[in-house]
Each structure stands twice: as C-alpha cells, then as structure tokens.
Symmetry: D2
C-alpha cells in the first residue's frame, strides 16, 4: 500500500469564488480523488492545519508528498520545511506542482532562486514529451494540450534537471521545462508545471495520468540509510 | 507478465572446463534461473542458435534482453545487431553484462570505443552504491563485495551515464563506473560490470538482486512511438 | 592558433539558385568567413573533394570540425565517417549544424535514429537560452529570434544531452532542443539546430556568435590518450 | 584580467603547529601563490576579517571564489553566505575544496546534507580521471597519486554532479566522487576533494594544475541576467 499525502496551501479556495467553483473540495481534494486507488492510500494536509498537517507522524508515514502553494509560501514554518527536507533526503518522494516552484521546500532542495517568467492571459499550452522512455509518460500521447493556462517561461532558474521529461510551448511565444526530475539524498523529486488555480487543469485526464505516474516513480527505495562519519578501514593500510 | 530473454555467447562454457564447472547450465542458464518468477517469463538464446536465437518473433516478444558475450563479439551478425538496436529504440530494455561492454550492440548504442583497462588477478572488488535513490539498488546494503573478480579500470570510454549508480574499488588500485544507465529512443539500458566467466559471481545474491531490479527498471513504457517526418502546423502561421 | 575545418555537402548550392543566391560562396564559405580571426585558422572541405576533403592529414590538423549536410548524407563514405569518429574520440571538437542531425557521423556518435518532425513553412523560430551559465551563450540576450526558418519539432530522437543549452519555440506549435552538448571519448560535440539552406540564418550575428563560442568551447583538451587493455596492478594483490 | 579570491577559514593554521609548519602562509597563501599569474589577480580573505573579508565590494569584484573551511563552518554568518550564494547565481565561479563540503555555502547550493565517510589514516589516494574531455583535466596524466591523505568515502550525499570528472581510490577500500561540477543560476561550481590541512597537498603540481584549470573553467559568462517576473506576450494570443 502506497501512502500519499497531498499538501495544499488552500487559500485561494477560501478567498476567490472563481477558484472554489472550479475546485469545490480544494485543489488537494481534487488531486486526492484521482490518486486514490486500491493500492494507494491518500491523505490531505493544508497550511492552516496544526503544524500545517505535516506532523512527524504524518511525514514518517508518507511515501510520496505532493505540494501545491502560491500566495502563502512565507507562512510555511521553516522548521516544518526542514522536517520535510529531511524526509525527502531519507527517501520520501516529493511532487511539486505549478506555483510550488517558489515554495520554501523546493527552493531549499534546489539551491537556486527558482524564478521564472509568468503571465495570466488565458493562453494555450502544449506540453511536449521529450523523453518517451520515462515511466512518468506511460499512457500519454505525444503532447498534452491545455486550452487555457497561466504561462511560465524561461529562463527557469533551476539546476539542470537529472531528467528532462517535458517541455511546454506557449501561445505567447515562450517555452518552459515543464517536467523535471531530481534526486536528493535517497529521495526523488518531480516538478510538474501546469495547474493554475483558476483553470480545471487537474480534471484533465492526461494531467492526472502524469501525476499518478509520478507518484509511482517517486516512491521510496527500500535501502538502509547510508552510514556517514568516521569509518574504519576495510582494507589494511600500510604504514609509510 | 514480463518477458525476459537472456542472451549468452555460450562459448567459454564449451571450451573451458573451469567455466562449465562453475556454470554447468551456462551463464544464461544461471541467470535465467534467478530471474524466473511468478511475474517474469524467462527464455534464453545463444550465439549458435539460428539467427543467434534472436528472430524477429523473439525480439518482438521480449520486454527486456540481457546480453553476455566475450570472445565471439565479431561472430554476431551485423543484421541481428541492427534489429536488436531497433527494438531498444522502440522500447525494449537492454542489460549489458561485464565483457558485453565490447559487444557490437553496446558499442553501436554508445557511439564510443567502450574500451577499458582489465586484469585477471583474482583480486577483490567492492562495488559502492553512489545513488541510493535508484530503484536498481533496492534491497542492497552500502556495497557489494566480491572476493575475486577480473578487474576493469578507468578510463572506461563510454558517454557519461544518464545515471551513475555504482562505482567499483579494486584491490590493485583502480576504480570503475560499474553500474550505468542510459536511455536511447524509448529504450532503457543498464550496464553492470561484474561477471567474469570463471567466477561464481552470478550466484552472489546481491548481484542477482541488482539484475532482478534492473530488469524491473528497464521494462518498456507503454507509449505510442513518436511520429517523425513532415508535420502539419498545429497553429496558424502568419504569412510574412 | 585554433585550426577549424568547415565541412559542407555543397550540393544545394549547385542545384538550387535560391540557395546560391543566399550563399554565393556556399554555406561553408559563409561560415568560414565569420569564424576566421587572428587566433583561428579556417579551412573548408566539401563532399566532392577527394576523400571529401577529409584526408588523414586534414583531420590530424583540425581542432574543431563543423558539419553541414542534407541531401547527400548517403554519399559520405563509411570509411571517412569512421576516421572522423576516431578523431572525435581522440579529442577533435565537432559542431553539427541543422540537417546534419541525419549525417552518418552524428548518428554513429549518438547511437539513436536522430529523427525529428520538420516543416518548411517560413515560420518564426525563437531560440530560448535555458542555461545562461554556459560559455556557448556568451554575449547573447535571452533568446535569438529568426523571422523565418524551417521547423524541427520534438520528439528529437537523441540521447539526453549532457548539457541542454537552448530550446526553440516555433510559430506552428512545436518546441525543439536546439542547442545540445555531448562528450564522446576525449571529444566535445555541439548540435545547433538553425540553418536551413534557403534562409540567411548564417548571416545573423547572434547565430554567428553561438557558432564562434561553440568552436572555442569544443577545442581539444591537451591530455594524453588514456591507456586501455591489460594493466599491471598498481598495488599489491594478496593471494587468497 | 581574471579576479580570484581565495577564502580560508584559517583556524588550523593558528592552533595546530603541524599545519602552520606545512602552510606557513596559510592554506589561502599557498593557493594564492600558485594561482597568481600575468592574467590572474589573486586576493585572499579569511574568517576573522571584517565581514569574513567578503564585503559587497569584494564579492562584486570577484570572478571566481575558492573556499576552504573545516572546524568553523558555523561561525560563517548566514547573511554573508546568502550574499555569496547570490553572487554565484549571478555568475561568480565557486571552487569548494576538501572539507568545504560541509560549508554553509556548499550545503545551501546543493540542497542535500553533503555528508560522507572520513578517516585520518595517512593512506594513499589515487584520483582517476573519468572524463578526459573536460578542460579541468588539461595537462594531467591518467591519475593523480597522493601518498598520504585523509579518506573521504561514499556515499557522498550530493546531487548527481552535472559532470563527474574524477573518482578517488583509497587504500583502505573506499571510492569517492572527487571532482564534481555543478551549475547554479549563471554560476559554475567545482568541488575538489583533496587538501587535508596536515598534508602538503596544495604543493603537489597536479593538484595545483587542477585548481588552475578549474578557475579558468569557472569564470563568469558575459550575459545579461535573465529577466524574471510578469512578462508581456511576444506573440498575439487569440481570445477564446
């Protein structure tokens, strides 16, 4: 049984009727719904929960964490961010969605500004698959088309992804590295671009498929934590 | 049901009693035995079979192909090599073992000489895991120790691996990139260093674990073959 | 003094007046002109020269080779291709331009089909820089805009580049990995997309800048060729 | 004129006579000496200088910064670390030496723990070059041998390097990724393992060569800082 936690800032849903209309159960609710399956147990957590819903117990029993945030990144406690980071290094998968590019957790794991160009103009996005060998693309076609989305454009200030899976074309003239994998410690990270709060992006079955695949891909590997620190010699060292 | 084919040159086994003693069913037989499982159907094929046992039918029904060869690389027909290459580009996984580094199929997929240093001196090898997030390392410890193996040393003339999973230490003073992944077209490739014919390396349960994991990792992704060639515009192009 | 050889198929120039009008000295002539400098000695070579102008002597005295070909890839002798490949593995830089993606030399070095989507529709291309730390981008802005070019679209069947430097946006709806680096043996390779024969692309000063930068980046490193083959132990090996 | 700043914690030199005997001018002094050249202007800065010698002015006029630290990582002010990080993202090269793996600046740029195994046992290290195409290897042989060094062993908890240039073999049985490059923002980073304070490692001419090469490799690219934030469309967006 894979244990997934969907974390959402859940603020737009409270303040913007346009958003709550699109996502009446919150973005986290919508995502939880399509991730739930026979082999996957899904919980949700939000910013306003105690400890943002990310207690030690929740983190320890989460195999893969999804992260959606936007206007309240700064309200996420540094201490919680550090706990999440530690869990990723210890093997928990992390899937960062859309505006989560500017979340504290993504920024500390990347080391860069994670900045980008953006525009809200109801424009078309076409997400091209550039690595058709990657399990995250299972079941897709050559590209995913979204009639209207927010634009994110290069330069996207991230480390070069370990694997670049998808690149977006935008009607207004930009491109963007939209599907990027990283490994940090024993954990696997997937950044996936689309998902502006005012669009029904998370109801698109291709988008759902990518996230489902990513959850499978990001699950922890069963391997003891490497031993660090002072180490005895495994072989005899000749005196000089 | 995953369909695996283990290909072996199977020549040392015919000519060198030391080898047939260690591998009475051939290296292919030993590998097939530990790969066979409830969910994995394993066949074997050897150089001296008609079409080297790699007919169009066999290749089309193989999800992951393993390759062991050494003294008879040149006897593998170019036409068959090209068919195998095509199948890899179309999604078949390929696991190249030990002296297979010099096989025609590995060399055409890499583009480089694939040359290296070597020595047969019954020396100790310790294979360190450098990427503990990788599914190929599932169930292992920090390293795999082999009391006696052939040495392979750097410089190993391969393209920089997409993922470097393991690095070997050798008693005689060399290091080697021992576990390397590549993606070519829709196919995934894993090169795994150990497995000299005179040592019981393929009976080592850690070595078996790596190969079992690699087979799972290398399985094809279900995605239509990308469309190539002349393409109609998806968006209107303004006349200049 | 850097020694550069610009190789061009030089066939369109003979048969298509539109091309010879744009490139009266041939594509090779146009490229040679902007590469020539105080510190760079440039020669040209074409398909119809003896040994395609790539004699052993020429190759041995070339630090960086540029390659433009399109309709006559098949006429390039396999033996010459193999010599070029060997020189790349021995350290010669190689810059593959535009339709050179389908040249024999690029395909053998990549191991994949190097296939792609294409369209001739006088459409706009905007080449975005995605790695602004790369020396190949020195002196550029955020993107290069070309009013009319041939389209190349994903999926581009290449190994994941060692470094992805540029991504193109096309008016008709596609994206493309337009600036890609690879290392093979001791040699460095840069693939650069633009340059269809009927457009004055190689007169664009940004395009020229990229190619000038790439030549500097691709120059050989002064390092003895690694030693391959049987190797004596550097450290004592204990008898078992 | 390339402007280089060598930063050193400079504490062992004050407290341990063994170290001050090996490095009478401090580790920074020894490094500055072999970096100084006709085209390279070298300054030094240490922990106990005001603002650790890394004022805004110093940072703005530094092209490449070298970093050696060990027992006093925690005394480096977070504010200064953040300024250095910003300069790296803006293009300044950074070369992190030996125990600098645990410096604040390296850890925030990597996002991981940067932990490793270590042992002080006067053992032999042999640093093998695994990428002989890389400019950092210019002028070296196949490996660098150090008669006695501290051991650093895998697992080294870093992101997979953008380029892996060197791998160390240690007498006591470990291996280590010793020469690693990264790009962060517009800046280039090189981590280079050797250099324990009690050994004359920085007087070894091969080690000096690597650091000289790395300084050249890491120098900033002249490119305007990418524009981030809200962006006007470059192409017309059709109303839906």
């Amino acid at each position: 049984m894979l244990r997934v936690t969907v974390w959402n800032e859940n603020r737009h849903e409270q303040s913007n009727p346009k958003v709550s209309e699109v996502y009446p159960k919150g973005i986290h609710g919508a995502i939880a719904e399509f991730l739930q399956s026979e082999n996957t147990e899904v919980s949700t957590a939000t910013l306003d929960d105690a400890e943002h819903g990310l207690t030690e117990e929740v983190l320890q029993s989460t195999d893969v964490l999804l992260w959606w945030g936007h206007i309240a990144h700064d309200e996420v406690e540094d201490e919680i961010v550090e706990k999440v980071r530690q869990r990723v290094l210890d093997g928990m998968g992390l899937i960062v969605l859309h505006s989560g590019h500017f979340s504290k957790i993504f920024k500390v794991l990347m080391g860069t500004s994670c900045d980008l160009k953006w525009r809200e103009a109801d424009e078309k996005e076409r997400i091209w698959i550039v690595d058709p060998s990657h399990p995250i693309t299972e079941g897709l076609g050559e590209y995913i088309e979204l009639e209207a989305e927010e634009m994110y454009g290069e330069h996207f200030d991230i480390p070069a992804p370990d694997e670049l899976v998808m690149v977006s074309w935008f009607e207004g003239g930009e491109v963007f590295r939209s599907g990027c994998t990283y490994r940090r410690g024993q954990g696997k990270i997937f950044y996936f671009r689309p998902g502006h709060e005012t669009y029904p992006t998370y109801y698109n079955t291709d988008i759902q498929r990518v996230i489902q695949n990513a959850v499978q891909w990001a699950k922890p590997v069963n391997l003891p934590k490497p031993v660090y620190g002072n180490a005895k010699a495994l072989e005899e060292i000749k005196s000089k």
